[in-house]
C-alpha cells in the first residue's frame, strides 16, 4: 500500500497516464478517419474552447497530483508552490472580507491574516485553494474509473457483438442484471463493502458504469461484422484476435473516445453525488461534492454562506459543460455522414 501512496509512484503513474493518452491519440491520428475528424474538430470553435478548458482543469489537477519532496520526508504538491502559503483562518470569512463569521462580536478581527478571494470554509481553509485542489480528486476518480470501465465495456461489447451466441447471451445477462439494480443503491452498497477512498469510488463507479458503453460497442461491432472487410479477413484465415484488435477495435475507437469524454463528466458528477450522500471522498480530501454537501447547512445560516457552494458548483459546472461540449464536437467530427 505504501508503494502506491509514495509520491514518486504517484508522479510516475501520472506521467504514464498522460503519456499513454497522448501516445494513443498520436497513433490514432495516423489513420485517415481520425485525421479527417481532427481537421473537422479544429474548425469547430466551441469544441476547441471546450478542449482548452478541459486541458486547464487537467493541468491544475496534474499540478496537485504531482508531488515533490521538500526535505524531512515531507512532500508538497506543485499546486502548493503556485498558490500555497495562504494561511487558514479560524472559521468562515466571506470573499474579500476581513472578519470571521463565528466571532461573537462582528467587527474586524486583528487575528485574521488576510482577505481571501473566494472566502474561507467552516474550518478556515481558503475556498479557492480547496476548489482548485478538488480538480485532482475529480481527475483521479474520472481517470481511474475510465481505466476500469472502458476496457470492460469495450471488450465485452466487442466479444458480444463478434462471437454472438452464448457469449452474447452471457454478457447480455450480466449487464441486464446489473442494469436492473438502481445505480445509486448499487454504488452505495459497493462503497460500504470497500470502505471510503478514491480507489474504492473508482472501482465502484467502474464496475457499475461499463454497461452503456458495452451496449453501444456491441451494436457497432455487430454492424461492422457484417461488413465485407471483416468477411474478407475471415476468408483469409485471420485469427479472432487479429480481427478484433486490427479491424474491429480501431473502427469502434471513436465511440470509445466520445463515450469517455461524455462519461467523464458523469463520473465527476457521480463523485459529487456520492460525497453529498456521505459515502464519497475520505475525510480531508478536497472535493466539489463535499463542498456542495456542506452547502446544505451553510445556506440556512444567517448570513448565508454562499461562496463555498458557489465555488464548487461553478468549478463542477465548468468542467461538466466543457466535457459535454467537447463530446458533442467529437461526435460531430467523427460523424461519417458529414463526409
Amino acid at each position: 500500500m505504501d508503494f502506491f501512496t509514495h509520491w514518486l509512484t504517484q508522479d510516475l503513474l501520472l506521467i504514464l497516464g498522460l503519456g499513454g493518452i497522448a501516445f494513443l491519440l498520436a497513433r490514432a491520428a495516423r489513420s485517415d478517419r481520425w485525421s479527417r475528424a481532427a481537421t473537422r474538430f479544429r474548425a469547430d470553435r466551441t469544441g476547441v474552447i471546450a478542449l482548452c478548458v478541459v486541458c486547464l482543469y487537467l493541468f491544475i489537477g496534474a499540478l496537485e497530483t504531482c508531488r515533490v519532496p521538500v526535505g524531512g520526508g515531507a512532500t508538497k504538491s506543485m499546486l502548493d508552490f503556485v498558490i500555497g502559503g495562504i494561511p487558514d483562518e479560524r472559521s468562515y470569512s466571506a470573499p474579500f472580507s476581513n472578519q470571521i463569521l463565528t466571532d461573537t462580536k462582528p467587527q474586524p478581527d486583528p487575528l485574521k491574516s488576510q482577505s481571501h478571494i473566494l472566502g474561507t470554509n467552516q474550518l478556515g481553509q481558503d475556498v479557492l485553494v480547496q476548489t482548485l485542489k478538488a480538480c485532482r480528486t475529480a481527475l483521479i476518480i474520472g481517470g481511474l474509473t475510465s481505466a476500469i470501465y472502458i476496457p470492460l465495456g469495450a471488450l465485452f461489447g466487442i466479444f458480444a457483438g463478434y462471437f454472438r451466441r452464448w457469449v452474447d447471451d452471457l454478457i447480455q445477462y450480466i449487464y441486464s442484471t446489473l442494469a436492473s439494480i438502481p445505480p445509486i443503491l448499487l454504488l452505495v452498497s459497493i462503497l460500504f463493502v470497500l470502505g471510503p477512498g478514491l480507489g474504492s469510488i473508482s472501482i465502484a463507479l467502474g464496475v457499475t458504469g461499463w454497461v452503456g458503453l458495452c451496449r453501444l460497442i456491441r451494436g457497432e461491432t455487430m454492424r461492422q461484422s457484417e461488413r465485407s472487410y471483416i468477411t474478407a479477413a475471415r476468408a483469409l484465415g485471420q485469427s479472432h484476435w487479429n480481427i478484433i484488435s486490427r479491424h474491429l477495435l480501431p473502427n469502434v475507437m471513436h465511440l470509445v473516445l466520445i463515450n469517455f469524454v461524455l462519461g467523464f463528466s458523469g463520473i465527476v458528477l457521480s463523485e459529487a453525488i456520492l460525497s453529498y450522500l456521505g459515502v464519497g471522498c475520505p475525510v480531508g480530501t478536497a472535493s466539489w461534492g463535499v463542498m456542495i454537501d456542506s452547502g446544505r447547512s451553510e445556506l440556512s445560516r444567517d448570513p448565508v454562506v454562499w461562496w463555498n457552494l458557489t465555488a464548487a458548483t461553478t468549478a463542477l459546472f465548468g468542467l461538466v459543460l466543457s466535457l459535454n461540449l467537447l463530446g458533442d464536437s467529437l461526435r460531430k467530427a467523427f460523424d461519417p455522414k458529414r463526409g
Binding site: 479560524r90 462580536k105 474550518l123 475525510v283 480531508g284 463535499v290 447547512s297
Partner: protein
C-alpha cells in the same frame, strides 16, 4: 346572466379563501374546561415515532418523552434544583429509609394514588396503587418475555433478580416466581434488598422503568380481538396525563386526567431570575395544561417553520435554524426579538472527548505521546465552530450538575502546540518522526455520516497534524463506531462521549473501571489502573459527602495523569420558547422539553399572536392574478390579430 355568474364566482372564492388556514394541528379535544375557562393546549414536536409506551420495555428518549406524563415514578427529580440534582418523593409518601448496613431501603407509598380509569378494571374505575404493584414491576423487569433492557442493571444490585430471571425460562409465572429482593411489608410499604451497597438505586426509582403498571392492564391489553398490545401502544398509568390518540408518523395526543393529586408545584428551589413569577405557582395543583399535542416532525426545517408561525410552543435550536434565530452576539435575531421569543441555553448532562485505546502498542504505552496529542486539541475553537461557542469547553470528566464537578478547575492539557511538540519529542518522535526518520502515522476513528460530522473529524485530524505527524481518518457510522469501540479496534476515537443516565459521578467514573472493559462494560478506553479501581469501589457505595468529593477529585487526578482521553466539550444547545409558553423548570433529567406537568401556556396570548404571525400576504396573489390577466389579454389579442390577418 354575467352578473349572476360573477356573483357566484365571488361567493365561491370567498368561501374557498375562508376555508384556507395554515394551522397544521387538528382541533383540540375541547374548547373550554367544565368551569368555562379556556382549554389549554401545548404543542411541541418530537423527532421520531415512539417505540412503545410500556415503561418497563422502552428505553429510548422519544418514548420516554411521551410516557413521562402518563406514568408517575416513585421518586422524581426536583424540577428546579439542578446543581446538584435532587430527588424528591413522587408516588412515595416520604423519602426511602436506608438500613444501617446500606443493603436495604424501606419505602411507603402515598395512599389514594389510583391508576387511570380504564376498561381493564372492573367497572372501568382505576384502582389504588399498592405495594404489591411494585413487586409486579420488578417481576415484569425479570420476565424474559417482556425483554426489559433494565434487567441487567437490577440483576447486579437487587437480590433475587438474577435468579428469578434465570428460573423464568421463556416466560415468568407471576403467581409463583417472585423477586426475592422486593418484600411487600403491608398494603403501602415495601422493602428493596440489595446485593451490595448501591445508593444509585434511588435514581432508578425516578426512571420510568420502575413506574407502577397495573397487572389488569397488562392482562387486558394482549393484542387480541382489536385490543392494543401493552408492550406496544397501550397505556394505563398513574400520572397527570393519559394518551388519547397516537397516529403513527403524525402525532401523539395526551389529555389531562381529572382529579390528579399526587404532586403539586414545588415551593422552593426557584432560580433567582424567575423566583417572583414561580412563587405565584407554588403549591398549586398540577398539571396546568389540559392537552398536549406532540406532532412528529422528522426534519428540522418544518419544525422551524411551524415554530416561526407560532404553531409550536418550544423548539431546541438546531444547526439549520441557528443563524436565523441567534445573532452573532448570541442573542435572539431581531426578527424573533420582535416576536417576544424567549431564548435560553440548555446544557446537556454530557461530556464529549477524544479517546485513546490503552491497549494500542503505540498510543497506549506512550504517556508523553497522549499528552502531546492532548495539548494539540483546540477544544475552544472546536466549540466555537461547531457549537457557536455555546457548548462549554470540558475541563474534566464530570459535567456541571453532577456531584464532583469542579467549577474552578482548569484544563490539565490546554491547547499549546509548542508544549505538544516538546512532549512529542520526549515521546520519541521529534518533529513527528521516529528514530528512523519515518513519520508517525496514527488512525483517528470518528463518525462521518454527514458533512458536519466529517468536518468535526477533519478538525481533529488537522489539530493533530500540526504536531508534524500524519493522521489517517477512518470515518464510520455511529453504529459501526460503537462496534469498533467495543472491539477495541482503534487508536484514537473522536465524536464520542457520554450522556448521564442519572446524575451521579459513578455513572461517569465507571467508564474507566477495569471490570467494565468493553465488550463487558463501556470502558472502551481499556484503561486499567489498580489505584483507580480501589478508589472507585470506595466512592461508588458512598453517599454524597466531603469524603466522596475528595475521592472524585482523586479519580479525576488519576485520569489527568494517565490521560486515557481528552475531554473536549459539554454539549449545549439553545432553546427557544414562545412568549406564551415560558419555561417553569430547567431540569434536564426531564429531557430538554419534558416535565409536562410543570409547564404553563397562556392560550389567550397565543391566539392573539398567532393571528399576527400568520397574516396572509396578499401581494403574491395580486401579482399572480395580474400576470394571468396579462397573459389572457395577450392571448386574446394574438388570436384576434391572427383572425384579422386570415380575413
Amino acid at each position: 346572466m354575467l352578473r349572476k355568474t360573477t356573483r357566484l364566482f365571488a361567493l365561491a372564492a370567498a368561501l374557498w379563501l375562508a376555508a384556507c388556514d395554515n394551522n397544521p394541528h387538528p382541533a383540540p379535544l375541547h374548547k373550554t374546561r367544565p368551569d368555562g375557562t379556556p382549554w389549554v393546549v401545548r404543542y411541541q414536536a418530537i423527532r421520531e415515532d415512539p417505540r412503545s409506551f410500556d415503561p418497563q420495555y422502552t428505553y429510548d428518549q422519544i418514548s420516554r418523552k411521551v410516557v413521562e406524563g402518563v406514568y408517575d415514578t416513585l421518586l422524581e427529580y426536583h424540577p428546579m434544583k439542578t446543581d446538584p440534582y435532587e430527588l424528591q418523593p413522587c408516588m412515595l409518601a416520604e423519602m426511602p429509609v436506608k438500613a444501617a448496613d446500606g443493603l436495604s431501603y424501606d419505602f411507603r407509598l402515598k395512599e389514594g394514588v389510583r391508576f387511570h380509569d380504564d376498561p381493564c378494571f372492573p367497572g372501568g374505575k382505576g384502582r389504588e396503587v399498592v405495594a404489591e404493584d411494585i413487586q409486579y414491576v420488578f417481576q415484569r423487569i425479570a420476565d424474559p418475555a417482556v425483554e426489559s433492557p433494565f434487567e441487567s442493571t437490577f440483576e447486579e444490585c437487587l437480590v433475587g433478580m438474577a435468579e428469578t430471571h434465570k428460573a423464568a425460562g421463556k416466560k415468568l409465572d407471576y403467581a409463583t416466581q417472585r423477586v426475592a429482593g422486593v418484600e411487600v411489608l403491608d398494603r403501602y410499604r415495601f422493602r428493596l434488598r440489595l446485593t451490595k451497597k448501591y445508593p444509585q438505586i434511588l435514581y432508578w426509582l425516578a426512571y420510568q422503568c420502575t413506574a407502577p403498571v397495573a397487572r389488569e392492564a397488562v392482562a387486558y391489553y394482549d393484542g387480541e380481538n382489536g385490543r392494543e398490545d401493552f408492550r406496544k401502544f397501550a397505556s394505563v398509568g398513574t400520572g397527570p396525563y393519559r394518551i388519547v390518540n397516537y397516529e403513527p408518523r403524525s402525532r401523539v395526543t395526551l389529555e389531562r386526567v381529572p382529579n390528579y393529586t399526587t404532586t403539586v408545584f414545588p415551593s422552593d428551589g426557584f432560580p433567582a431570575a424567575k423566583a417572583e413569577w414561580l412563587k405565584t405557582l407554588a403549591g398549586k395543583a398540577l398539571p396546568f395544561i389540559d392537552e398536549i399535542q406532540l406532532p412528529i416532525h422528522h426534519e428540522n426545517i418544518p419544525r422551524f417553520l411551524h415554530f416561526r408561525q407560532g404553531y409550536l410552543d418550544i423548539m431546541a435550536v438546531d444547526k439549520d435554524s441557528f443563524n436565523a434565530m441567534v445573532s452573532p452576539m448570541r442573542t435572539l435575531s431581531p426578527e424573533f426579538q420582535k416576536r417576544g421569543t424567549i431564548l435560553e441555553p440548555a446544557f446537556e448532562i454530557s461530556t464529549f472527548w477524544i479517546s485513546f485505546n490503552m491497549d494500542d502498542p503505540v498510543i497506549g504505552e506512550n504517556l508523553k505521546l497522549r499528552q502531546a496529542l492532548a495539548h494539540a486539541t483546540d477544544s475552544k475553537r472546536y466549540a466555537e465552530i461547531f457549537y457557536a461557542g455555546v457548548a462549554p469547553v470540558a475541563t474534566q470528566l464530570l459535567p456541571s450538575g453532577i456531584f464532583g464537578h469542579d467549577r474552578e478547575r482548569q484544563k490539565r492539557y490546554p491547547f499549546d502546540l509548542e508544549k505538544g511538540k516538546q512532549l512529542l519529542a520526549e515521546a520519541g518522535y521529534p518533529g513527528g518522526r521516529d528514530k528512523d526518520g519515518k513519520q508517525l502515522e496514527l488512525t483517528l476513528t470518528g463518525q462521518g455520516a454527514g458533512s458536519e460530522d466529517r468536518q468535526r473529524v477533519e478538525f481533529d485530524q488537522r489539530c493533530f497534524e500540526q504536531l508534524g505527524i500524519a493522521v489517517k481518518v477512518n470515518s464510520v457510522t455511529f453504529a459501526r463506531l460503537q462496534d469498533i469501540e467495543d472491539r477495541g479496534d482503534f487508536q484514537m476515537c473522536t465524536t464520542t462521549g457520554w450522556g448521564a443516565d442519572y446524575p451521579d459521578p459513578e455513572n461517569y467514573f465507571m467508564l474507566f473501571y477495569s471490570k467494565n472493559v468493553s465488550p463487558v462494560g463501556k470502558n472502551y478506553f481499556r484503561f486499567r489502573h489498580a489505584e483507580y479501581d480501589r478508589i472507585f469501589e470506595q466512592m461508588v457505595v458512598m453517599e454524597n459527602s466531603p469524603e466522596r468529593l475528595e475521592l472524585t477529585r482523586k479519580l479525576q487526578r488519576i485520569l489527568d495523569d494517565e490521560c486515557p482521553m481528552v475531554p473536549t466539550f459539554h454539549k449545549a444547545a439553545y432553546l427557544t420558547l414562545q412568549p406564551w409558553a415560558p419555561r417553569t423548570h430547567n431540569n434536564l433529567m426531564y429531557e430538554v422539553d419534558g416535565g409536562h406537568k410543570y409547564l404553563v401556556t397562556d392560550t389567550v396570548m397565543r391566539e392573539r399572536l398567532q393571528r399576527e404571525l400568520n397574516k396572509p400576504a396578499l401581494w403574491p396573489a395580486f401579482v399572480l392574478g395580474g400576470l394571468v390577466l396579462a397573459g389572457v389579454v395577450a392571448f386574446i389579442g394574438a388570436v384576434r390579430r391572427s383572425k384579422n390577418q386570415t380575413a
